[in-house]
């Protein structure tokens, strides 16, 4: 960028970003937009090929919907079946402003809760559109045969999630993501049978191909054979999920990664708000240093479970040493700290608030379990009130999962839980059309940054993924294609393909040739610990500056001392993971820089220097009501910062209060 003048952290500033939000009042923008866009003639749609990377909720729903419209779709995923995308693991539910419970819900209320929940760092127009289409999502899923929970009268039931005072969450026992994904996967497989979608499994996108500045293809590694393949298309949709695994331990599936997004970033797509990550309050605590991932206990449990720790440190220590158990503690010796501090929302405060409070009580020495890094989630009262059967109906599979992992029975002993990395609000920057800064390259679902601001509310990721894929991208991508001449999908002879393929090949060969002494897992764990300690639940300028020196040093070690076995022309899991770790090392540095630059606390980004007298996040709206979008300059650690200033025309910025 020309005219770039560095700020106090030596960050270069670029031009502000425009988000192409349509004119008109908030609730008319989407309709106005739809009536004004370009449309491809039905007979011409079959001349276009759309490359969809990822088959989670966002990817599968987009692939199905675009194919139904008549476009040719090629869909890629890293797993052996599209149905195994990480969306499958979502437990608790999906929000929609149906107001079936007659409790005063509305599109406006869902919009408002989401903006407020995101601590006023999301774009109004996108969030309103999300709330609008939320109702269509539930209709669509029911028509697909998604077996949502129902009441005896045969109508859909709802539950409550954090950050909302209405009951608007639809669910399918504790397996909502699975059922929604199987619905979208089914819709996509129907198009496979009709010849409109081709699915490529065990494939990893390793680069984007740009021709005349537009996204026109991808470079893919076939994970089964190791071959490098090229695919040409008229648009590329990145639906590749979040980057929580930069922390190594997270609730994400082990294959979740940032590689596709990061390689597009290197090709010119700006990366927005990377430091906005969500730490989920209710996960099963770490049990040892062999730990490979963390397991979430759905937020829905906070509907009926009460969070507490012992009132005193002395009692907590007895529990930590195993001298007494939680059931030995009398009612008056327990501190239900969320109910005490937040009487209105109680155990249902948003995730960032619940997580931070768990950390505080553990810092005070009142944590439980062997390590003292856990708090209780107790169902005794609900079991008394509702009966064991009712509790089992609601949460049976989650209780079983807990028992399997910990060996303890939560019907009898309170669960032990601790916060864990869960979701990433940041992602590729997109405009209102979900297009990145590279024309023809879109980002959908968790891979983009657009709707959740600095904190996502529970049950809103599934909603966003399906909104993007079923109801938004089919319009906006069509609008773009209407202005493009179709490419020949069989022709990948352009120089740009060769250049990208060579780059990918070179990196793979380099990784295999290092032959050092460290394993990928060791190095990833090391990065994860640094990220958790310095870019985790709370951050300081001092810690961030420290980690900004440590990550580049770790990257040096990675590129000089990694040891990989096997070859590139076969199935080689460690090689896959090494490529992903290379990108996580770059991303980790950008996250720390973004966190350092953002001198305020908002949502999941808590800078210790910016808090109210009672420890709540303190925003600095005058200076930071913007989206930070980072441009890659060829050197990780020296990006250019572009701002998108957030305009709040419909809600008033206030300090979030859940008291």
């Amino acid at each position: 960028m020309s005219n770039a003048t560095p700020n106090k952290w030596n960050i270069k500033m670029g031009a502000d970003l425009k988000n192409s939000i349509p004119e008109g009042p908030l609730d008319k923008k989407w309709d106005n937009y739809k009536s004004g866009i370009g449309v491809v003639n039905p007979a011409n749609k079959r001349k276009y090929t759309v490359l969809v990377i990822g088959t989670g909720l966002a990817g599968a729903s987009a692939a199905a919907s675009l194919a139904e419209l008549g476009y040719n779709v090629k869909a890629f995923c890293t797993q052996d079946s599209p149905r195994r995308a990480h969306s499958i693991a979502a437990q608790g539910g999906i929000n929609a402003a149906k107001n079936y419970q007659n409790d005063g819900d509305s599109i406006w209320r869902l919009f408002y809760d989401t903006i407020k929940g995101g601590d006023y760092r999301a774009r109004e127009a996108n969030v309103h559109r999300l709330a609008q289409v939320s109702v269509n999502i539930i209709d669509q899923c029911v028509a697909q045969g998604v077996p949502f929970a129902r009441d005896y009268g045969g109508l859909l039931s709802n539950r409550s999630f954090g950050g909302a005072l209405v009951s608007r969450t639809f669910y399918a026992r504790g397996q909502t993501g699975q059922q929604l994904l199987l619905g979208a996967y089914g819709a996509m497989m129907r198009q496979v049978d009709l010849g409109k979608v081709q699915v490529y499994t065990h494939r990893e996108m390793l680069d984007l191909v740009k021709i005349d500045g537009h996204a026109k293809g991808v470079i893919i590694r076939n994970l089964r054979t190791g071959e490098i393949e090229s695919y040409a298309g008229d648009a590329v949709l990145l639906c590749t999920g979040g980057y929580g695994n930069v922390y190594f331990l997270s609730t994400n599936a082990m294959n979740s990664n940032v590689t596709a997004a990061w390689r597009c970033h290197k090709r010119g797509a700006y990366f927005a708000n990377p430091c906005f990550t969500q730490i989920h309050p209710t996960c099963i605590p770490v049990s040892g240093d062999y730990q490979s991932k963390l397991t979430l206990m759905s937020e829905s449990l906070r509907n009926d479970g009460r969070v507490w720790v012992p009132k005193t440190k002395e009692m907590a220590q007895k529990i930590q040493r195993g001298e007494i158990g939680p059931n030995d503690l009398a009612e008056e010796d327990r501190d239900y700290f969320l109910e005490r501090r937040y009487p209105t929302f109680g155990n249902l405060v948003p995730r960032d608030v619940a997580s931070r409070n768990a950390k505080y009580v553990c810092n005070e020495g009142r944590g439980v379990g062997k390590t003292g890094l856990a708090v209780y989630l107790d169902f005794a009262e609900s079991i008394k009130r509702l009966g064991r059967k009712a509790v089992e109906d609601r949460y049976g599979n989650l209780f079983e999962m807990y028992e399997r992992i910990t060996g303890e029975n939560p019907y009898e002993v309170p669960m032990r839980i601790f916060p864990a990395v869960h979701y990433t609000m940041g992602g590729l920057w997109v405009d209102y059309n979900l297009m990145t800064t590279i024309p023809g390259l879109y980002a959908l679902g968790e891979a983009n940054f657009s709707d959740h601001g600095a904190n996502r509310l529970g049950a809103s990721a599934l909603m966003q993924g399906l909104a993007d894929g079923y109801f938004v991208a089919p319009y906006t991508v069509g609008d773009y294609l209407a202005g493009q001449k179709p490419v020949n999908p069989a022709d990948t002879s352009h120089e740009a393909f060769k250049e990208a393929r060579d780059g990918v090949d070179k990196q793979i060969k380099r990784l295999l040739s290092i032959k050092g002494s460290k394993t990928v897992l060791e190095l990833h764990r090391e990065l994860g610990l640094k990220m958790w300690d310095y870019v985790g639940m709370s951050r300081t300028a001092e810690g961030l500056q420290k980690v900004l020196k440590e990550i580049p040093a770790l990257r040096e070690t990675f590129w000089n001392d990694l040891n990989l076995m096997g070859s590139d022309m076969e199935w080689n899991r460690s090689l896959e993971f090494a490529g992903r770790l290379a990108d996580f090392l770059d991303l980790g540095e950008l996250m720390a820089l973004d966190a350092l630059n953002r001198e305020e606390s908002c949502g999941g980004h808590f800078r210790e220097e910016y808090q109210t007298a009672d420890g709540e996040a303190l925003r600095q709206d005058d200076a930071f009501a913007y989206v930070a979008a980072w441009e890659y300059t060829g050197e990780p650690g020296a990006p250019v910062l572009h701002k998108e200033h957030l305009q709040f025309e419909n809600v008033k910025l206030t300090q979030r209060s859940y008291k």
């Binding site: 729903s61 919907s65 139904e68 797993q79 052996d80 079946s81 149905r83 195994r84 990480h86 499958i88 693991a89 149906k98 209709d139 669509q140 899923c141 029911v142 028509a143 697909q144 045969g145 077996p147 949502f148 929970a149 129902r150 009441d151 005896y152 009268g153 045969g154 109508l155 859909l156 399918a172 026992r173 397996q175 059922q179 199987l182 089914g186 819709a187 497989m189 129907r190 049978d193 499994t201 089964r224 599936a253 082990m254 294959n255 040892g288 062999y290 490979s292 991932k293 397991t295 979430l296 079983e400 999962m401 399997r404 079923y470 109801f471 089919p474 076995m565 096997g566 199935w571 460690s574």
Partner: protein, 255 residues
């Protein structure tokens, strides 16, 4: 609890066409809180340090829902604990000194890719034939317009809970995919949304199942016994009824 010293006998096969064989490894000091796959991670870390190729196995969510992992452990698909996928099996199910054999899913329809990793693409091809309702995006009416009794909704859910791991095929002496296919058929048979395509669905999915080279069901019941999600074998009976009705009604010659 004390830690475990174990002997592992693992199937190693370098590539789809190469011959495979069982190899023996010792692992020491395994915490009983570890998951089975974390135990294999520990082995692999050591192998790489010794300059040997790690054992390849597939996995993703490690919380029993994606259906990616799947090992035959001591001859049982997903190992000794009922209703538990391999990734949720923990080492507290084993004893110090145990010898554990670890093999891939074995079925003609699932070629080995490497070591313990197999290709289950056949399942996707079956789903493509009818594992859905044919409704385009945007055509749906209000979700509460058709009430569905809780019992039916629950039954549909119970069948839909299948994770597609294919343990049922691995456990079946005939390598039949009937439990998997019947679970999808049953989900839609219990829901009004599934009814318009009821006959077509069962006929086409069964036809594809046969074309993929899966065996026939002869009621051994091993599938239900190993299913990590407790999918009931009664779904297979339901699928047979659905199939007969459909074949009679449409006059399909394949009865």
């Amino acid at each position: 609890m004390s830690n475990l010293n174990l002997t592992l006998k693992i199937w190693r096969q370098p590539s789809p066409d190469a011959p495979g064989a069982m190899h023996t490894y010792k692992v020491d000091n395994i915490s009983t809180h570890m998951s089975f796959l974390e135990m294999l991670d520990v082995l692999n870390e050591r192998l790489v340090k010794e300059g040997k190729e790690p054992v390849e196995f597939d996995y993703d969510c490690r919380e029993g829902i994606c259906g990616t992992c799947g090992l035959v452990i001591n001859g049982v698909a997903h190992g000794p604990r009922k209703l538990t996928a391999t990734c949720q099996l923990h080492m507290r199910e084993f004893k110090d000194g145990d010898v554990i054999t670890i093999e891939p899913w074995r079925a003609n329809a699932f070629p080995v890719i490497k070591d313990l990793v197999v290709d289950r693409g056949a399942f996707d091809r079956i789903v493509a034939k009818g594992g859905y309702t044919s409704v385009n995006t945007g055509n749906a009416r209000d979700a509460n317009e058709i009430p569905i009794g809780k019992e039916d909704a629950d039954k549909a859910f119970d069948a839909a809970a299948c994770i597609g791991c294919a343990a049922c095929v691995a456990a079946c002496p005939n390598a039949s995919a009937s439990l998997f296919v019947s679970a999808k058929v049953a989900q839609y048979a219990h829901l009004p949304q599934g009814h318009p395509e009821r006959e077509r669905r069962v006929l086409k999915m069964v036809q594809q199942m046969d074309a993929e080279g899966f065996g026939n069901c002869s009621n051994h019941g091993e599938c239900e016994a190993v299913c990590p999600k407790g999918i009931s074998i009664s779904n297979i009976a339901l699928m047979r009824r659905e199939y007969m009705k459909a074949a009679l009604k449409t006059g399909a010659a394949v009865v």
